[in-house]
């Protein structure tokens, strides 16, 4: 069987067997929830509560006037004990609200189902999505209500759902597709209604035949929705690659999916949309895969947002003594952490990957032998080796000429390089330098 796919990519091995067959189990609610005020791309929220306030579960506790932003909610009921800072996945710290849990799980009065949800119009639905604080749950955390509000001149005809879960190790999307297929389809139908798209497509890597089957069944009544198996190849689930595979269209350089009539949503995001619209639930919990050679009991867990990483790790039997790397997200694009302390699970935490010294190598960087394996692997057909060499010499203008800004940071070039050159890292450096230069030029 030959399946349509994209150009380039790598085969890192999926490493999913530890958790792919394990149903999602609820994690214990934390004694103290740490809710960061910025769990999304865009303007951080302002706190709506003060120290000493009683809050209820699902209560909005932070919001922003910025359009590109998403409110945050309390995932427990209890008392605000501190407004301070906590560590954030990409590094640095963010402002956060610390809530002491009273373990009563008293819902806030704003959380109520919408019995007439099918009659709501697009604007009302968008408002519900915004108020629920939904962001892209694959890890990019772009506010969903912004994504589903494309400029009117861009007619959207496709809504794509990324069920590829091409990151090795992670199984949270896989489990969500198996355990909540009907809600996922409702979420997709809602997005289609909001943006006026006639076609919905769900792409799933062919290492998850059970998920393909479950969703095909769930979508059987809606002829507008196509569920398709895609070859297991990283980065199959990347936005631009998914669009190319399903529609043959290419997002123009520097443009957005909406410019070619597409919107791409993650599996978890679709389910969150369905929950927000039908049950009025804000985004206060998510599925997290805790896995890797460095954890004693790998699991898929439904974790309250704000649960400290240490709590989750403890419920998975703790770290192995030879833990060497702790990663939030997957191994290809996730963020390595210096430790689990003062670090909560957030809306973008798709996985907690723990690797021991056997899986973590620190390699000497060799000279580029121009084997061109990075050129073959690059899914956007830029020249990682030339950009890497330019950055090594501090020649950012040359890096720009070789299209550094088109990099999607998938990591294929670094993965494949036999000389162990950190190409993706160098390209990221080039991107930030070039962006800084462009900002300076715009002033």
């Amino acid at each position: 069987m030959s399946l349509k796919t994209f150009k380039g990519g790598v085969h890192p091995g999926d490493h999913k067997s530890a958790t792919e067959k394990k149903p999602v189990v609820p994690a214990n609610p934390p004694a103290v929830a740490i809710i960061p005020l910025s769990q999304h791309i865009g303007a951080p929220c302002e706190p709506l509560v003060a120290v000493g306030d009683e809050v209820k579960m699902g209560q909005k506790i932070g919001d922003s006037k910025g359009f590109v932003s998403a409110p945050v909610h309390s995932s427990v009921s209890g008392k605000v004990i501190k407004i301070g800072t906590c560590n954030s996945a990409p590094g640095g710290t963010v402002e956060a609200i610390f809530i002491e849990n009273d373990f009563q799980d008293t819902w806030h009065e704003s959380v109520k189902p919408n019995p007439d949800w099918e009659k709501l119009n697009a604007d009302e639905l968008k408002q519900l999505v915004r108020e629920a604080g939904i962001v892209g749950m694959g890890g990019a955390t772009f506010p969903t209500h912004v994504k589903i509000s494309p400029p009117p001149e861009n007619k959207i005809d496709y809504v794509l759902v990324n069920g590829a879960e091409c990151e090795p190790y992670l199984t949270s999307d896989h489990r969500a597709m198996l355990e909540r297929p009907d809600d996922l389809i409702v979420g997709l139908q809602l997005v289609m209604k909001i943006v006026g798209a006639e076609k919905g497509c769900i792409g799933i890597e062919d290492n998850k035949p059970d998920a393909v089957e479950a969703l095909t069944k769930a979508a059987a009544d809606d002829p507008r929705i196509e569920v398709r198996a895609l070859p297991t190849k990283y980065p199959q689930g990347a936005e631009k690659q998914l669009i190319k595979v399903f529609t043959g269209r290419e997002v123009p350089s520097g443009g957005l999916p909406a410019h070619v009539g597409c919107i791409v949503q993650n599996v978890g995001t679709c389910i969150a949309i369905a929950d927000a619209v039908r049950k009025g639930l804000p985004l206060i919990e998510r599925i997290v895969t805790i896995t890797g050679s460095g954890i004693n009991e790998p699991k898929n867990m439904l974790v309250r947002i704000g649960t400290p990483l240490e709590d989750v790790i403890e419920q998975c039997g703790g770290f192995k003594p030879n833990l060497k790397k702790l990663i939030l997200g997957g191994p290809m694009m996730g963020f390595a952490q210096p430790g689990p302390e003062n670090l909560p699970v957030t809306k973008g935490t798709s996985g907690i990957l723990c690797l021991t010294d056997e899986d973590v190598t620190v390699d000497d960087i060799g000279p580029c032998i121009k084997c061109a394996k990075c050129v073959e692997a690059c899914p956007v057909s830029i020249m990682p080796l030339f950009i890497g060499s330019a950055v090594e010499q501090g020649l950012y203008d040359r890096a720009e000429q070789y299209d550094a800004m088109d990099c999607i940071e998938c990591g294929c070039c670094s993965y494949i390089c036999p000389a162990k050159r950190p190409l993706t890292q160098w390209i990221r450096m080039a991107k930030s330098e070039i962006a800084a230069k462009r900002r300076a030029a715009a002033k």
């Binding site: 890192p12 190319k244 030879n322 191994p331 032998i369 956007v380 088109d406 990591g411 036999p418 950190p422």
Partner: protein, 304 residues
């Protein structure tokens, strides 16, 4: 926590491949050809190979002041490739000078692995060829080891079976197309070479041989030009040298075609019977230019 965690930029997974493993794969790929050389030309062939490899590796180790003489394996590959281009029984000092020139001038003078413009083994062969033409063209017939002419320099009807198996006069590694192809299949399988360079190269040699090599259109002349001399060795092992060949897909095809064209121009119109060495060296010189003119169309490229 007592043990410190490593914090580094993603990706956190790396393929198992290293420069050393790639070079080792190339050595493995050349093994059938080494075996064929020893079968056809005897113990002397082995001595030539060992001398070339040792002098290459030692030169590299001395220049880089490294104790590990195998190192990343690239010098061993260069030494072996050089031996493959030599006649079966050259004087011992020729092998040693070859190794020193290949690594010292061909590679390290440019800044070492990855920075050389020309294929180091071919640089050495070119130097030896020009400096000691007599020694470099004292060919022996296989097995009985008496002086003989190479197929390219002799008249008469070629015996294709002999050419394919390699029981003809010639340099150590260029005679047995069969043994070289076995190695090439291994390199394809490991993903270290693709069809573009060897394909373009051999196709052009075949087409030009067919059109210009015989009387009228002669397919057997085309086949003869592919199998005789160093085209198979050159196309699969020399022109595909990663460092000195283009990195873009289109560029690789152009490079292969260029090598074929130059080889046949030397064979038909040059003063040497064989043109593989100079063809590849000439194309090496234009590799950076080819790369820059053949950058692939990026995803979502907008017409300027």
């Amino acid at each position: 926590m007592e043990n410190k965690l490593i914090v580094s930029s993603s990706p956190h997974l790396k393929s198992a491949e290293s420069i050393r493993s790639v070079m080792t794969d190339v050595l493995v790929a050349l093994f059938p050809a080494v075996l064929a050389a020893i079968i056809f030309f005897g113990f002397r062939a082995l001595i030539t190979i060992v001398l070339c490899m040792l002098s290459s590796m030692l030169t590299e180790a001395i220049i880089l002041r490294k104790k590990d003489i195998f190192g990343d394996g690239s010098a061993a590959v260069t030494g072996l490739l050089l031996a493959m281009t030599l006649p079966p029984a050259p004087p011992w000092w020729l092998c040693i000078i070859g190794g020193v020139v290949a690594i010292g001038i061909g590679k390290q003078a440019f800044g070492g692995l990855g920075n050389n413009i020309f294929n180091p083994a071919l640089v050495a062969r070119a130097v030896l060829m020009i400096s000691w033409t007599g020694h470099m063209t004292s060919w022996l017939s296989p097995v009985d080891l008496v002086s003989a002419a190479t197929p390219l320099a002799s008249a008469g009807t070629p015996d294709f079976v002999k050419l394919f198996v390699g029981s003809v006069a010639g340099s150590l590694g260029e005679t047995s197309a069969f043994a070289l192809l076995l190695g090439a299949i291994w390199l394809f399988y490991k993903g270290h070479i693709n069809w573009r360079i060897p394909g373009g190269y051999i196709l052009v040699v075949f087409v030009m041989g067919t059109l210009l090599g015989g009387e009228g259109i002669s397919l057997s002349a085309g086949l003869f030009h592919v199998l005789a001399g160093g085209v198979v060795l050159g196309a699969f092992f020399m022109a595909t040298d990663m460092v000195t060949s283009p990195v873009t897909p289109k560029g690789q095809l152009i490079f292969g075609i260029g090598c074929g064209l130059m080889t046949m121009l030397v064979r038909f119109y040059g003063s040497y019977p064989e043109g593989v060495t100079f063809a590849i060296l000439l194309m090496n010189a234009v590799t950076p230019l080819i790369d820059n003119l053949t950058l692939p169309r990026k995803y979502g490229e907008v017409a300027k």
